[in-house]
């Protein structure tokens, strides 16, 4: 987010906290795509991702009074979306190990370029192979561009733990890419 859009978000949040539904609607419109992308990569299921993203904004509306502005509003939204995604994974018992995914998805053409569709499919498979906390840290840092400090605060983990989780996720990504012969 740029400084300009950060300022816009701050203004919209103030109006929304005062009960302005139009302002809140604008916040939803500004952040929906990124929130769905987060819940999609976290769950690997578009239907679930859409429901979770909508529920995120409904919860945000209901709890706006509790948003004190110490963190950025978008971090607060990602935090709600992350918790909802983790709860979904916990309830659904969704976690696969990387070997299973790689064996199941191995193909005959290891040196292949990524198409958009393949990228989405393969990254979702990779994300699904990570343990939920590692997946969340990778998601928030790589795709949502949150700093390690922000993620530590969002997930109540030590700064060093967040870095370790990220390093491990990238190592696994490298391993997965070698197995599947990814290149950009």
């Amino acid at each position: 987010m740029t400084d300009t859009s950060d300022n816009l978000i701050d203004v919209l949040v103030e109006h929304a906290k005062a009960g302005d539904r139009t302002a809140f609607g604008k916040l939803v419109a500004l952040m929906m795509n990124r929130t769905v992308a987060l819940t999609y990569r976290m769950t690997g299921d578009m239907d679930a991702a859409e429901d979770l993203a909508q529920d995120t904004f409904v919860s945000a509306w209901q709890n706006l009074g509790g948003f004190k502005g110490a963190a950025k509003f978008e971090s607060w939204i990602y935090r709600i979306a992350s918790n909802k995604s983790l709860n979904y994974l916990k309830r659904a018992g969704r976690s696969t190990d990387i070997e299973t995914v790689m064996e199941a998805q191995s193909d005959d053409n290891p040196e292949r370029a990524f198409s958009q569709k393949e990228l989405r499919r393969d990254m979702l498979e990779f994300m699904g192979s990570l343990p939920p906390q590692q997946r969340l840290v990778f998601e928030l840092h790589f795709y949502q561009e949150r700093t390690f400090e922000e993620i530590a605060s969002m997930t109540d983990k030590a700064h060093g733990t967040v870095k370790t989780l990220y390093r491990e996720a990238v190592k696994k990504l490298r391993e997965a890419a070698r197995v599947k012969g990814w290149r950009s």
Binding site: Q54, Q62, Q116, Y143
Partner: protein, 186 residues
């Protein structure tokens, strides 16, 4: 700096556009680490960006409209028509009279002291009573109660402290009901 540390730092910098001069200097003189860095850069491009996973515009529009509708339903539920409201008040008034009578008796017996009891709604319409000494109900809104509970459950679970009440599972609600005591939140 040795290669292992450099490679650890490169893993941490995965997806970043810039690297320190110290790393750049090492890479200039170390073919192994340079190959490692190039592999990661290639991989970072292959992993795509946030935008690659955005839904189609018409789906986004539908999702935004869906949020509006869900909030509308919640707000409508809050605004009950007057005649329906009167009917719904009958059991509430009866319950209130019982509570007032009980509270007056309890007050006389000095049972409640300065405690305040707040009830918050959880998942599946379950409720959890939040009892805290000296808490003034008027000073807390639903968001604040959620935050208090979030912190409480987070401390217990070692998880995120932004745990919204509606995300608290049945087991956790039962735990809260069984274990919350006056002063837990002070």
């Amino acid at each position: 700096m040795n290669c292992e540390r450099i490679q650890d730092q490169l893993l941490e910098l995965f997806g970043e556009k810039e690297q320190s001069e110290q790393i750049a200097e090492h890479l200039r003189g170390c073919p192994e680490c340079r190959a490692f860095a190039e592999e990661l850069e290639e991989l970072s491009k292959a992993a795509g960006s946030n935008e690659d996973f955005f839904p189609d515009p018409e789906i986004t529009e539908a999702l935004i409209a869906g949020v509006e509708q869900k909030i509308d339903r919640i707000e409508t539920t809050k605004a009950v028509p007057l005649h329906a409201a009167w009917r719904s008040y009958v059991p509430a008034v009866a319950a209130l009279l019982v509570v007032i009578g009980f509270s007056a008796t309890a007050y006389m017996l000095n049972v409640f002291s300065s405690q305040r009891s707040l009830t918050a709604r959880g998942e599946g319409d379950t409720t959890v009573a939040v009892v805290a000494e000296g808490v003034q109900p008027d000073s807390l809104n639903a968001g604040d109660i959620n935050y208090i509970l979030n912190d409480y459950t987070a401390q217990r679970n070692g998880t995120s402290s932004d745990y919204l009440l509606e995300d608290v599972s049945q087991d956790e609600l039962e735990y809260l009901e069984n274990n919350l005591k006056a002063g837990d939140f002070l």
